[in-house]
């Protein structure tokens, strides 16, 4: 079976809203704020809605950067993106002045240095951006308290948080698709026939969408085809391969029972018609891979247009 990496990644642009925006502004100024509920309970990190009553919270109060570990676990092999690159502890830490515990990392030489009930305090990142990661991690021991040198609570609101999420997957093709892709790499388009309805699918399917059984019998298809319907792409967009305008069309290969989308070049966009006969224009052989893009585009083959009835049931 063919497989290849799939790596979706995006830097998400989150908006904090008023309450979390003030919490985040506190972090930028090296202060941790909690949200006070109607019952007086102080929730840290600040929560927008009371977990008990669902009431919207609005009052924020500063809490100490020092607190007590309520439970912890040891991250022996940190994953990318986590707060520390060397092994560290995750801990739920109840800060002094808070009624709930917050999750963060604790830097420690090893699990033997950790215990429930130990005191830890926040170590701030050198460069802060108004995010939970402004706390680089917690470290064992007491930190500065209110009599010491805690910064002022800022009267500010962070608006946005950029949250990069980049993941790695291994994407696999189905057995039927793998056969088709390998044939494409050899310059052939191979469909498969459903053993029940006898329709020829290209690409072939792990399950015929009508009958729910794998398509089986291989059917080699030629280069000639009919345009069933199409649109003219006039709009530029990111990742575009061809300069607009160009035609994006449903192509019904001779011998196939289902069309697929592809590009039509070789004539003016305004000349493309439903029913127009076209031929596959393959890329140079050295560029072939396991992809339908081996066919660079379809181009008019000069045959008379196919009658509407011949493709009407593929619209």
């Amino acid at each position: 079976m063919l497989s290849a990496p799939l790596e979706p990644g995006f830097d998400y642009t989150r908006s904090y809203g008023p309450l979390l925006g003030r919490f985040a502004a506190g972090l930028r100024a090296c202060r941790i704020l909690g949200a006070r509920g109607a019952d007086g309970k102080v929730h840290v990190p600040a929560v927008e809605y009371d977990p008990e009553t669902a009431a919207a919270l609005s009052e924020l109060v500063p809490v100490s950067p020092t607190g007590t570990v309520r439970t912890w676990s040891w991250q022996s092999a940190p994953l990318s993106g986590q707060p520390l690159e060397q092994p560290f502890a995750w801990a739920l830490i109840q800060l002094d002045g808070a009624d709930t515990a917050m999750l963060h990392a604790v830097e420690a030489p090893g699990p033997e240095a950790m215990r429930t009930g130990m005191r830890v305090h926040a170590r701030w990142a050198a460069e802060r951006r108004g995010a939970i990661t402004d706390i680089a991690c917690f470290v064992p021991g007491e930190g500065p308290d209110e009599r010491g040198e805690l910064p002022e609570v800022p009267d500010a609101v962070e608006e946005m948080l950029t949250s990069p999420i980049h993941l790695s997957y291994m994407h696999s093709a189905s057995p039927q698709e793998s056969t088709y892709l390998r044939e494409l790499a050899e310059g052939r388009v191979v469909g498969m026939r459903c053993p029940v309805c006898r329709k020829v699918y290209v690409p072939p399917r792990g399950a015929c969408p009508v009958d729910g059984v794998p398509t089986e019998e291989e059917v080699e298809l030629g280069d000639n085809a009919t345009i069933t319907t199409f649109c003219v792409v006039n709009v530029p967009f990111p990742g575009q391969r061809i300069k607009p305008p160009y035609v994006c069309a449903y192509i019904l290969l001779d011998g196939a029972d289902i069309p697929f989308l592809h590009i039509v070049l070789g004539c003016a966009a305004s000349e493309v018609r439903m029913g127009m006969r076209v031929r596959a224009a393959w890329k140079p052989r050295e560029e072939w891979t396991t992809n339908l893009a081996n066919i660079d585009h379809f181009t008019p083959n000069g045959e008379p247009d196919a009658p509407f009835e011949s493709y009407a049931h593929h619209l």
Binding site: A46, S73, S76, G81, W90, A91, T133
Partner: protein, 351 residues
């Protein structure tokens, strides 16, 4: 409202990595054939279809759509999908039958966890502002819960090892299990810690798999199954997402769901506990005494296909009713970090 029963169940082998696609088609096609053969139900008769799966497991949007090919959904089907474990799809299907509009339903769940970094992906279930940017992975979060319970005296590492030993032993009789074998608790405790206090064997393996369940209303159940597993009740709850707001050593959502149900006579329970301590936690929260056999299939520690494993618990429990080896059974499914959301289902041989 009409009574609803589980009348058919099939599951794929739990494996570390399938060669198939993330849309589940290769796993589902044989399972649909199996339940149709088992029940005599025909595709055209199915009143409602409901599935559970996750785009993030597949790494792309709308990943569940291609799974419909496995059904052969022409003519079109009455269908819905939950982005949850398919146990909740079973709940939705049960509700659909209870409206009286349909009398049968096929429910399926699938997941190819091996395609991505599962424990890291699951960090995206946490609060996107104050937690997810730290990427706390699912194993580390479960480990926080394990220690909270140890510290609270709710369970011990010895008990956790015994849970694993029992799972591996029972899994030997389950040909679809991924991990099985004979181990003593002492042997397991001698293993190094992986996410202290958890050892690797305390964590369910990464599993690819799928499961299919058939439900029927009172009018049809006995035509399709000699001994239907009647749903005595299905109840579920969710808790706050903020881990530090929860008492992690218990499960208030499971307790609340259990309070909705009559679990009298239950002697067998399939619990969706992907971590060893969670089996003990759930047993305590539900109030199952020592006489209740838990996870005779081996449970999730023997194979944990994400988005199907909860549905499988219902299927495994129902199978024990179908084959006459139990008169009453309980199934549990979970979703979210450290058992945030829990579902319970009581199944009985008598209506």
């Amino acid at each position: 409202m009409t009574d609803v029963a589980v009348v058919g169940y099939a599951s794929s082998p739990s494996v570390r990595e399938t060669q198939g696609t993330t849309n589940g088609v290769e796993m589902l096609v044989p399972l649909f054939s199996e339940v149709f053969a088992e029940t005599g139900l025909r595709k055209s008769e199915v009143g409602f279809w409901c599935s559970g799966s996750s785009d993030y497991l597949a790494g792309r949007a709308f990943s569940f759509i291609a799974a419909v090919d496995a059904i052969g959904a022409v003519p079109p089907i009455n269908e819905s999908h939950v982005e949850m474990d398919a146990a909740w799809a079973a709940f939705e299907a049960m509700v659909a039958i209870r409206t009286g509009e349909v009398d049968t339903a096929v429910v399926y769940g699938f997941g190819k966890s091996s395609a991505g970094e599962l424990r890291k992906i699951l960090a995206l279930q946490l609060d996107p502002y104050t937690l997810a940017p730290l990427w706390p992975d699912s194993v580390s979060v479960a480990a926080l819960q394990a220690r909270a319970g140890i510290d609270a005296g709710a369970w011990t590492e010895q008990q956790m090892a015994e849970v694993v030993a029992a799972s591996r032993r029972k899994a030997r009789a389950n040909p679809r299990s991924q991990l099985s074998g004979e181990y003593t608790a002492e042997e397991l405790l001698a293993q190094p810690r992986f996410a202290d206090p958890l050892r690797r064997h305390d964590c369910a393996p990464v599993t690819d798999g799928a499961a299919v369940l058939v439900l029927a209303g009172a009018e049809r159940a006995e035509d399709l199954c000699e001994r239907p597993a009647w749903i005595g009740g299905m109840s579920h709850r969710v808790e706050t997402p903020h881990l530090g707001e929860r008492d992690l050593s218990t499960s208030v959502s499971t307790k609340a769901a259990a309070a909705d149900l009559d679990i009298g006579g239950v002697r067998l329970a399939e619990l969706h506990a992907p971590f060893s301590h969670q089996e003990i936690l759930l047993r305590q929260a539900i109030g199952l005494d020592e006489a209740v056999e838990v996870n005779p299939s081996g449970g999730p520690l023997a194979g944990n296909p994400m988005f199907a494993a909860g549905l499988s618990r219902i299927g495994e429990a129902a199978s024990r009713i179908h084959d006459g080896s139990a008169d009453a059974a309980l199934a549990h499914a979970t979703s979210g970090p450290a058992l945030q959301q829990n579902l319970l289902c009581v199944l009985r041989g008598e209506r």
